[in-house]
Structure formats: structure tokens, C-alpha cells
């Protein structure tokens, strides 16, 4: 991100100097202004949703929901962290219902909570990829916009949107599994009967110290259980 920021910034600055140097500062300031107004909007959105979420959490509703989806989410995100899984479930269901405002705060809390985990890199990448696909059961914004613009059948885009979102989801999930998932075996470690985890940690050696360590930890815990 640091390199990207530097390169884009320098290239754009050079270009803007060629065209119109006096536009440089206004551009920076209007960007910052957008950030301020976005954050004010977000503050309102977060206050509402974090409030409602807290009520749901205190009532134990989130825990129930998370427990119901745990078999699926545990495998996908490879984490055992209960509170992170709760937030992930909220994030996913809010996304499905098209409530981006509710999804983002929960997603951010989940990203933070995952930080304490062994597989943080993998779990975060997976959560991010799933969010990027933006799968929605019913794309309310587009359909209402189309209806307002006088489309003959405003709903004829629903199926293509659903299909292509699904493609994005499948692509994203499998790419994360392929590129970040090597050597991360914790979610499955408990299921192996015996012996196979050795192969796992040998393979992880190539990926460097971090993954190797967490594989060994997973193996160690399994040893205790046995």
C-alpha cells in the first residue's frame, strides 16, 4: 500500500503540474473534505448499528445465530474465535440483505478480533474477499433506480447480477484458498485421525516461520487432545 500510494501520488502530481499546477491543492483539499463528510456519515451509521448490534449481542441473539452457522464459517475462515465468528455472521447476513451500513461496522470489528488469531492473515483475506463479492439477495438500489428511469422490466437484471456476484464470490474464495491457504490447516487439524499433520507442517516449512509456527501449535494442541 505504501508503494502504491507513493507511485500514484507522484505520477498524478507530475501530470497535474503539466496541465494546471493551481489545481493541485484544491484537489487534495476536496479529497480530505470528502473524507470528513464520509466519516461524519459513518459516525451516524455506526452509532445506530453498533447500538442495535450491542442489544442483539447482550440478548444472546448473535451467539445463537453464530452457533447455527459455525460449522460453515469455522471451516471457511479457519478460526475458533467465538466473538469474531459472531461478527462475521452479522457481516455476512447484513451483506446478503443489502444493508451495507450494518455490514461494515461488524466486518471491521471482525477484522480486529481476528488479529489475535494464528491464521489472521488467511481469515482476514477470506473475510475481505467475501465482502468484495458483494453478494446480495436482492439488489434494491439498482432495481429502484431502473424503475425510476422508466425501464420496461426493472427486474430483468436481478438474475445476471446474482449470477455474476456468485462468480465473484467463488473466484475470490478459491483464490484466497489457493494463494493464502497453503500451510494454514488449523480448521481441519482436529479432524485428521493421525499422522497426516506431519505432512502439513513439512509443507508449511517452505512458507516461512509464521505459518510453520502456527502449524506446530495446532499439532501440539491435537497431541494434548489425543
Amino acid at each position: 500500500m505504501n508503494v502504491l500510494f507513493l507511485v500514484v501520488f507522484i505520477v498524478c502530481t507530475a501530470l497535474i503540474c503539466v496541465r494546471d499546477p493551481s489545481a493541485f491543492l484544491p484537489a487534495l483539499l476536496s479529497g480530505a473534505e470528502r473524507a470528513v463528510s464520509l466519516c461524519i456519515t459513518l459516525a451516524a451509521v455506526y452509532a445506530v448499528w453498533l447500538g442495535i448490534l450491542q442489544v442483539a449481542e447482550d440478548a444472546g441473539a448473535l451467539r445463537g445465530l453464530a452457533r447455527g452457522m459455525k460449522p460453515l464459517t469455522k471451516k471457511l475462515f479457519r478460526t475458533e474465535n467465538e466473538s469474531a465468528l459472531e461478527k462475521i455472521v452479522v457481516n455476512l447476513s447484513a451483506n446478503l440483505l443489502g444493508m451495507g451500513g450494518a455490514a461494515t461496522p461488524a466486518g471491521i470489528s471482525a477484522m480486529r478480533l481476528l488479529g489475535a488469531e494464528e491464521n489472521a492473515r488467511y481469515s482476514r483475506a477470506m473475510l475481505f474477499a467475501v465482502n468484495c463479492a458483494g453478494l446480495q439477495l436482492f439488489p434494491t438500489t439498482v432495481v429502484s433506480l431502473r424503475a425510476a428511469a422508466g425501464a420496461a422490466s426493472a427486474y430483468d437484471v436481478v438474475l445476471p447480477i446474482l449470477l455474476s456476484s456468485l462468480c465473484a464470490l467463488i473466484m475470490g474464495v478459491s483464490l484466497v484458498m489457493l494463494l493464502c491457504g497453503r500451510g494454514v490447516r488449523m480448521g481441519r487439524a482436529g479432524m485428521h485421525k493421525e499422522g497426516s499433520d506431519n505432512g502439513g507442517s513439512v509443507r508449511a516449512d517452505k512458507k516461512g516461520g509464521r505459518t510453520e509456527r502456527c502449524d506446530m501449535r495446532a499439532g501440539g494442541r491435537k497431541g494434548v487432545r489425543r
Binding site: 484537489a27 479529497g31 447500538g51 471491521i108 483475506a125 463479492a133 458483494g134 437484471v157 494463494l179
Partner: protein, 170 residues
């Protein structure tokens, strides 16, 4: 008004009622949750500001316009109508920007056209990847999100390709 408008109020009311049945102090609990909003934003703001300043600079330098005109032949080769190239490029950066482009396309080409349908798919079938990465990875120490961002961009782009294809078939 369609029935989807009722989901949200019903859901929130259900949560509050359920909580009161469970003897949760609803008012205190809500306030406790809302109190977390500002600390969260304090952490987010610097990164959001950095990304948006960069996005604005990108727009003002003319680089985004040049890039979209340079890429439009490539896009039409891949089956994406070149009229929606700016939308494809803006989409990862800004939700509000791509929304205004979408309404522009609806007004210009008519909501029933193939172009408008493709634009709808482009708008709805992905998320604003860079914006999300700014928000999600903000303040997470030393973790470079380059790989997840690349994955998100690639899978969304393929989804756009397939979406334009679906628009032609369905």
C-alpha cells in the same frame, strides 16, 4: 413500496423485543454500543482521508480519464461495452461516484438498453474494493493488504465479464 422495505424496521423491532424478553437493559445496551462508534472512527479517519485524497488527485490529474479512454478498446474486445469503461474504473474506488455514473448512463442510453443493463450489473455485482480495503485494513499493524486487494479486483473483474455475457444471453 415493495415488501423489502419492511425487513429492516421489523428486524430492528424484533431485536429490541427479543432483548427485553431476555431482560436486557435495552437503553443502556444501545448506548454502550453507540459509544464505540467514535473511537472506531478516530482510527479509521486518517486512512480514509489518505485514500480519498489520492482518489481525488487521480481524478483531477486526468489520469483516470486517460486510462479509461486507453482501456476502452481492450474492454470492447472482452465484450464490455466501451461506454461503461469509466464506470468499471471508478467502481473500485467510490460507491457514490459509480452511482452517479450509473444514473448518467441510464439517462443517456435509456434504462432498457443493453448498455444500461450491463452498467447495472457492473454497479451491483461487486463492491468498492479500494474503499473497503481502506476501511477494513485501516490501523491493522504491518499487514499489507496488497494480495487480498488484488484477489478482490481480479474476481470482480471476471464477474463483470461474465455479467455482460449473462446480460446478452438472459
Amino acid at each position: 413500496m415493495s415488501w423489502t422495505a419492511y425487513i429492516l424496521p421489523a428486524l430492528c423491532a424484533a431485536v429490541l423485543l427479543f432483548a427485553s424478553v431476555r431482560k436486557v437493559k435495552v437503553y443502556d445496551s444501545f448506548a454502550g454500543g453507540a459509544a464505540k462508534a467514535l473511537p472506531l472512527l478516530k482510527n479509521l479517519f486518517p486512512y480514509v482521508a489518505a485514500v480519498l485524497v489520492l482518489a481525488e488527485l487521480f481524478e483531477a490529474s486526468g489520469l483516470s480519464a486517460a486510462l479509461s479512454s486507453a482501456l476502452s478498446p481492450l474492454f470492447s474486445l472482452l465484450g464490455i461495452p466501451e461506454e461503461i469503461a469509466p464506470l468499471v474504473l471508478v467502481k473500485p474506488f467510490s460507491g457514490s461516484g459509480s452511482l452517479s455514473l450509473l444514473t448518467e448512463i441510464f439517462a443517456k442510453y435509456g434504462a432498457n438498453s443493453y448498455i444500461a443493463r450491463c452498467a447495472s450489473v457492473v454497479y451491483a455485482s461487486g463492491e468498492t474494493v479500494f474503499y473497503l480495503s481502506a476501511v477494513y485494513f485501516a490501523g491493522i499493524e504491518g499487514k499489507r493488504p496488497a494480495l487480498p486487494v488484488a484477489i478482490g479486483l481480479i474476481s470482480n473483474f471476471i464477474a463483470i465479464l461474465l455479467g455482460c455475457l449473462f446480460c446478452r444471453i438472459i
